[in-house]
């Protein structure tokens, strides 16, 4: 049962959800950049640019407290975070390359260790994805098996139509529930023609072939070639919708402080630095190799998924112009 929602009603939906005391998150202009941030009104929604950071931070915040501790009368008192206070959340506006990331990450977060911080947030959230009609020469979602109209990860999926409205498809029960609760904002009908998608410059990748190549090329001059120019920052990982490494730090003093979990990146030289001083990934080529291996081999080995949505953020942001799509294409070509 395709539904239609006008742009105005989409914004009204946000207004209503805010009034319902839900946390509504969507692309919003913050200073000079568009970021996923809490929306206070429908007018905040900014859909003309891909946010600089992916929407993963909704489930996997940049930094979060996991416990606090204090020594009192010789004994250490530990206080946990009350996860039940996490709010009901609606994420509105992610394109498939962002909306698709929980569909990838859920696997690892509920694997051998259940990350209740992540999972609780996931449980309480509804994702309203929007098909992507923009894109530039860094985009390569099609190459990694996604598409501008991929519904994976979305609970409700909107497709922009030429008259400015959106056709809606409830992908999950959560999506259905959201529509059902606000039915008068939606209209029945086929609607206008959809806005066409943009062509992507990167060829379709044979992910199986790439994985095979990676299996056989743990040692390869390619890694050194890339590492020659990689400066080892974390920009690519931090803005990536799929990267999910984190570090845990106690901040404060030994007697009184907070244990915090925050984003980390495998490109950092200290990422695998052991307390002993030994560092198994002591040089940048090993670190960059790990990034590719993790995304296109290890994660697939474990969970049968590729740890990349092709959003192209890392290509745009890399300080030294490392182009993962180009690297994959080279491997693909053999």
């Amino acid at each position: 049962m395709p539904q239609i929602i006008t742009e105005q009603n989409l914004r009204s939906l946000i207004d209503l959800l805010v009034k319902e005391a839900k946390l509504v998150v969507g692309p919003k202009l913050s200073g000079s950049v568009v970021l996923y941030e809490p929306l206070t009104a429908g007018s905040d929604l900014t859909l003309d640019a891909l946010p600089r950071r992916s929407s993963k931070e909704l489930f996997f915040p940049i930094c979060e407290d996991i416990l606090s501790y204090k020594r009192e009368n010789g004994a250490m008192k530990v206080a946990d975070v009350d996860r039940s206070k996490f709010p009901e959340t609606v994420l509105i506006g992610p394109p498939p390359c962002d909306a698709g990331s929980p569909a990838i990450l859920d696997a690892v977060m509920s694997w051998d260790y259940k990350d209740e911080f992540y999972l609780e947030r996931r449980r309480k959230s509804t994702i309203v994805g929007i098909a992507c009609t923009k894109g530039d020469d860094a985009c390569f979602c099609r190459a990694v098996g996604l598409a501008p109209d991929a519904e994976a990860g979305s609970d409700l999926f909107l497709t922009p139509l030429k008259d400015g409205s959106y056709s809606c498809k409830a992908v999950t029960e959560k999506g259905e529930a959201l529509v059902a609760a606000h039915l008068n904002l939606f209209a029945e009908g086929a609607g206008a023609e959809p806005v066409p998608f943009v062509d992507q410059a990167v060829e379709k990748l044979d992910l199986v072939k790439i994985k095979k190549w990676l299996e056989e090329h743990f040692e390869d001059p390619l890694w050194e070639k890339i590492a020659d120019i990689c400066v080892g920052c974390g920009a690519c990982a931090f803005i990536c919708p799929a990267c999910h490494c984190f570090d845990i730090n106690d901040e404060g003093s030994t007697d009184d402080g907070v244990r915090r979990k925050h984003w980390d990146a495998c490109g950092f030289s200290k990422f695998t630095n052991h307390a002993s001083g030994h560092n198994p990934r002591d040089v940048q080529n090993k670190r960059y190799r790990n990034r590719i291996m993790h995304k296109f081999k290890y994660y697939d080995d474990k969970f049968g998924k590729t740890l990349c949505t092709g959003c192209g953020r890392c290509i745009r942001a890399c300080p030294v112009g490392i182009d993962i799509a180009d690297i994959l294409a080279q491997i693909n070509r053999g």
Binding site: L23, V25, L58, P61
Partner: protein, 177 residues
């Protein structure tokens, strides 16, 4: 001399980073001379102002100081010859930086107090304490300490007091029609 028994509404936290040879000794002299000054100041002793890292000042503000004093030997009197000269440049630069990011420099005082200047120590400490007292608590860094990225406590930004009551929501629904 400061009459200490007056109770104030606000007692600022003042941290003093001092060198051991001149200012610490000057503060000792103020003590042996039984001079009186506000009790707000907490003194941290360093061998030399040259040892004092701008990070310490930053950290003191972060940890709740309302005012910071850095004090050492007069130029030419440094026990280590040139430590205070290096410190002077370092802090001149640091002041400019703090001012540029919007820190009120009235909360940060530098002084030369020699071992013979017990009276000057009292003056400097009293003046800074009273000035900061009139300015009130330093909000900037303390607020920052408690701020988070929105996603950390996602939901904190939602004001529960406005939790909907149905008539209002109903009205909103109706208006959209």
């Amino acid at each position: 001399m400061h009459a200490e028994h007056i109770k104030h509404d606000f007692e600022p936290k003042i941290v003093a980073f001092v060198c051991t040879w001149c200012t610490y000794a000057g503060a000792d002299l103020a003590g042996t001379s039984r001079m009186q000054y506000p009790s707000n100041v907490r003194v941290l002793k360093f061998p030399c102002t040259g040892r004092i890292d701008p990070v310490f000042i930053l950290r003191a503000f972060q940890k709740g100081a309302d005012g910071v004093l850095v004090s050492g030997c007069h130029p030419g009197d440094c026990h280590y010859m040139a430590g205070n000269f290096h410190a002077r440049r370092r802090f001149a630069a640091f002041r400019a930086l703090l001012s540029f990011v919007g820190v009120d420099l009235n909360r940060l005082q530098f002084s030369w107090v020699s071992a013979a200047e017990g009276g000057k120590w009292v003056d400097v400490v009293t003046e800074l304490t009273e000035r900061v007292r009139t300015m009130g608590p330093m909000p900037e860094f303390k607020e920052l300490e408690h701020e988070e990225q929105w996603s950390t406590f996602a939901g904190a930004s939602v004001d529960k007091s406005t939790v909907l009551n149905s008539p209002e929501l109903k009205e909103a629904y109706d208006s959209i029609g």
